[in-house]
């Protein structure tokens, strides 16, 4: 059987590489922004995978659980708390970028970054 954690890490790596490619090489602003969203999702997935425990349980302590068993089997909750914040930051950055893109479209009449940023 293939290791799930390794596969999740590879997926996050694929997300980051595809996103970087899009953000650097694609010309359309919206596509660049989509690429950046992919980078952020890849980074989140990477962080979360670090706390994963194969065959473990969700890190919520229910009444009736044995504390020692719980400590040995639960996933690591710290990355989950971090990712929660990071998702929100990613969404807000995306919203600001889209707003700027809309203003620039009104001014230049195009979504191509080389035409918008090129004359400087």
């Amino acid at each position: 059987m293939i290791d799930t954690q390794l596969m999740a890490l590879l997926t996050s790596g694929a997300f980051i590489i595809i996103g970087l490619f899009a953000a650097i090489f694609l010309d359309n602003i919206i596509k660049k922004i989509i690429g950046i969203a992919f980078i952020e999702e890849g980074a989140n997935l990477f962080l979360l995978t670090l706390g994963y425990k194969p065959g473990g349980v969700v890190p919520i302590f229910m009444p009736g659980m044995d504390a020692k068993w719980f400590a040995a089997n639960s996933a690591y909750p710290l990355p989950q708390a971090l990712v929660l914040t990071s998702i929100v930051i990613g969404a807000s950055t995306l919203a600001v970028m889209l707003a700027i893109a809309m203003v620039l479209y009104k001014k230049h009449g195009t979504l191509s970054t080389s035409e918008i940023l090129g004359d400087k």
């Binding site: 980074a43 970028m97 893109a101 203003v103 940023l117």
Partner: protein
């Protein structure tokens, strides 16, 4: 008075939110903003040194009642030393920096009232949000917490540029934001590697793990996390390859915005720089890497500054170039050099704020930024011109002003560390900076006034003149009484190295 520590962050955030509730009542907003801006530098003077644990969760080792009830595989292992809560550490460095940053922020807020029609609205909100973010970054002992406020500060910087209503500000903001949203996740992945190795994001814990061989500092994962975090640091500080975009951001902002943006950059530079120095100084080539990028920043920025004709662009490049000195201080890595770098950072916040606000008055007067179309302004406003001249001399490192003291310390530390080449390099760069400044000053003030130059406004706003004067006084006082600043910083640096 240790409970005052989180207030340094909370008060600006609450103020930022309240400013927009009071929207429309212009006078109330002004007084409220000024009162809060005065309170911000006062709190660090009142607060005591110490650590603040959010939620009151102290490390297990300090809580003996709980520790004795835990099994031995927790209480007997290093886990007991780890910090459970987000920790704010308030030491002499934080006190000095937050105090002076608070003064600069106050003056920027004060100046901004004349630049904007309404004092509430997005601009005021962004300024206070940014102030809170960088203060939190400096206080925080938790690298992920720093990352969050770094992202907030990046968004705020973009917002300040957007709210400035200068030409082409949206293009520069979009460029900065795209680069930022690549740099941010890369920094996050670097933090993720550290988290995976140590299991904690607290800097003190990471340093503890490295020092006690819980983590192999020569492993490739540790090296990779260094490279990624270093890349994020380059972006946040505006070192190459990001110096062009950083300087264009400065030049697209209003004078008060420019002053504040440079202060943000310096504070972010310092907080991440200290974190990198503490965690990664065990990696053999880390300091050389810092030196190389700082020297590159100085060379590239100065050469770009010489070729520009827009004085706001020149000022932006000079400001980025000055950041290189701080980096050199960090890179040499002795106690004296890091102290000198930190002192240089403090001076730079003050001097660049002076120059941004000072040269801002010229743009306010003439609405022209091309130095070829300007001239003869010393006849119009001689007082401001002289104050700006002294500010420029201070930036170049003329005694007895404050930057002279820090640059002297930097050169001495380079000589003591056995790198005389760097000392010579710094002296040359100072001279070139001075030349560039003189060229700008000459073409703005001294050369004959072009015939078609007309003044768009009647007079310089009083708030700008007052701000320049206050900053100049601080600069002179710091130059004379520098011992009161450097001694506490020196002791602080001795504690972290």
């Amino acid at each position: 008075m240790i409970d005052l520590i989180p207030l340094m962050v909370i008060i600006p955030i609450i103020c930022a939110l309240l400013l927009n509730i009071l929207h429309g009542k212009n006078k109330t907003v002004k007084y409220f903003a000024i009162i809060v801006a005065i309170v911000v530098p006062i709190i660090p003077l009142l607060a005591n040194y110490g650590l603040h644990y959010f939620g009151g969760h102290v490390p297990l080792i300090e809580n003996s009642g709980l520790l004795s009830s835990l099994p031995s595989y927790i209480s007997q292992t290093p886990i007991a030393n780890f910090h459970l809560a987000i920790t704010y550490s308030f030491e002499s460095l934080q006190k000095i920096f937050i105090f002076f940053f608070g003064i600069v922020a106050f003056l920027a807020v004060f100046t901004s009232f004349n630049e904007m029609k309404r004092s509430s609205g997005a601009y005021g909100f962004l300024m206070f949000m940014g102030i809170a973010a960088v203060i939190a970054m400096l206080l925080s002992d938790d690298i992920f917490h720093m990352y969050i406020f770094f992202e907030i500060a990046a968004l705020v910087q973009v917002g300040i540029v957007l709210a400035s209503n200068t030409e082409d500000n949206y293009e520069a903001a979009l460029k900065y934001l795209i680069l930022g949203s690549i740099g941010g996740p890369i920094l996050l992945i670097g933090i993720g590697f550290l988290l995976g190795m140590v299991g904690s994001v607290n800097i003190t814990d990471i340093v503890f793990a490295v020092k006690n061989n819980l983590v192999n500092p020569l492993s490739s994962v540790f090296l990779l996390s260094f490279i990624l975090i270093f890349f994020g640091w380059l972006y946040s500080a505006g070192l190459p390859p990001f110096h062009t975009i950083k300087s264009s951001i400065y030049s697209k902002a209003l004078p008060s915005g420019g002053a504040l943006l440079q202060a943000f950059s310096v504070m972010v530079f310092v907080s991440f720089g200290i974190a990198i120095l503490r965690i990664f100084s065990v990696i053999p080539y880390s300091k050389i890497l810092i030196i190389v990028f700082s020297a590159l920043a100085m060379i590239l920025s100065i050469t770009m500054a010489i070729t520009q004709t827009d004085f706001r662009r020149i000022l932006g490049f000079l400001a980025v170039g000055e950041l290189g000195y701080i980096g050199l201080g960090f890179g040499i890595g002795t106690q004296l050099s890091v102290t000198a770098g930190l002192f240089q950072a403090l001076n730079e916040i003050i001097i660049t704020a002076l120059l941004f606000i000072g040269f801002g008055t010229i743009y306010y007067l003439t609405k022209v930024s091309d130095i070829r179309k300007l001239g003869g302004l010393i006849g119009v406003y001689p007082k401001t011109a002289i104050m700006i001249l002294i500010g420029g001399l201070a930036m170049a490192g003329v005694p007895p002003l404050n930057v002279f003291q820090s640059k002297l310390m930097l050169i001495q530390s380079a000589l003591k560390a056995g790198i005389p080449e760097l000392a010579i390099f710094m002296i040359i760069m100072s001279i070139v900076t001075f030349m560039t400044f003189t060229k700008v000053f000459h073409s703005l003030y001294l050369k004959p006034k072009p015939r078609d130059l007309e003044l768009a406004e009647e007079g310089i706003p009083k708030s700008a003149t007052i701000s320049i004067a206050v900053l100049l006084i601080i600069s002179i006082v710091l130059g004379v009484l520098f011992k009161f600043i450097t001694t506490p910083i020196f002791n602080f640096v001795g504690g972290i190295l």
